[in-house]
Amino acid sequence: MIWINLFWTFFKIGLFTFGGGYAMIPLIRSEVTAHGWAETEEIINFIAVSESTPGPFAINMATFIGRTTGGIPGAVCATLGVVLPSFIIILLVAGAYDKYKNNKLVNGAMTGLRPAVIGMIAAALITLGIEVIRPKDGIGIVSTVLSIAIFAVMTFLALKKKNPVMIIILSGAVGAIAGYILDL
């Protein structure tokens, strides 16, 4: 039953979403590819789409994967699944926020989770990076060199605090032009 499966998978993802955004890429990627709902390449494409549209990455990803695998009902199930855990947790905690703010257990857990979030982002960078830079069938090393060049230039721009959407548009333009010139 695809809809229940979507709901449950994204419920799990929602339950363990700490630090938001890129930190959840390894979890989302392993769940989504294990179910055969999308390839890593499509996930990377969608990170760019999500970055250019409103809403958090995990929720956008749920809507997108739900829609492409289970239609509109799939999108509803996956989105509900990813939102529900934080909805429940916030409801439970809201009344007692002050109590939990200085709770030793919560603070201790956060001490461990903050470095884990950084480790997850590093893992996302490496695993996705291998996928992007890996020589592709037929076009081989050319795509690798081109990807690294775009990555280097865009990293320079990103560190200069250029807008992420601008970086995405620019890398898309470079990819399109280079693609035609090199006939990839």
Partner: protein, 109 residues
């Protein structure tokens, strides 16, 4: 009831936008220029992730435990394909244990 409505209100706009975009992506993804553009975009996405990684690292508390947890959690996912849920739970427990030990140490002072 208010919480339900508010949450729906926050989620609905992006839900509608992403649903619409998903149809466009499916329709256009095989077109040559779109394929080339996404080829470039994938490399650009890496730089956005790297930037996020650098700025989060700059803001993080830097002590031995933090470095160990960063390294171990990244290595576990990259090299051993450990489920991210397990990594998160283990790191949370490590943090709690660390706080507990440190707390006891302070009590003895």
């Amino acid at each position: 009831m208010g919480a339900l409505c508010a949450t729906t209100g926050v989620v609905l706009p992006s839900f509608i936008i992403i649903t619409m975009i998903s149809y466009f992506i499916e329709a256009f993804k095989e077109i040559r220029v779109v394929r080339y553009a996404f080829f470039g975009i994938r490399a650009g996405v890496l730089s956005l992730i790297l930037k996020a990684l650098i700025s989060m690292f700059m803001q993080s508390t830097k002590n031995v435990l933090a470095y160990i947890l960063m390294f171990v959690s990244a290595a576990a996912v990259i090299f051993f394909d450990v489920n991210a849920i397990i990594v998160i739970v283990v790191c949370a427990l490590a943090g709690i244990t660390y706080a507990e030990i440190r707390g006891r140490g302070n009590d003895m002072d």
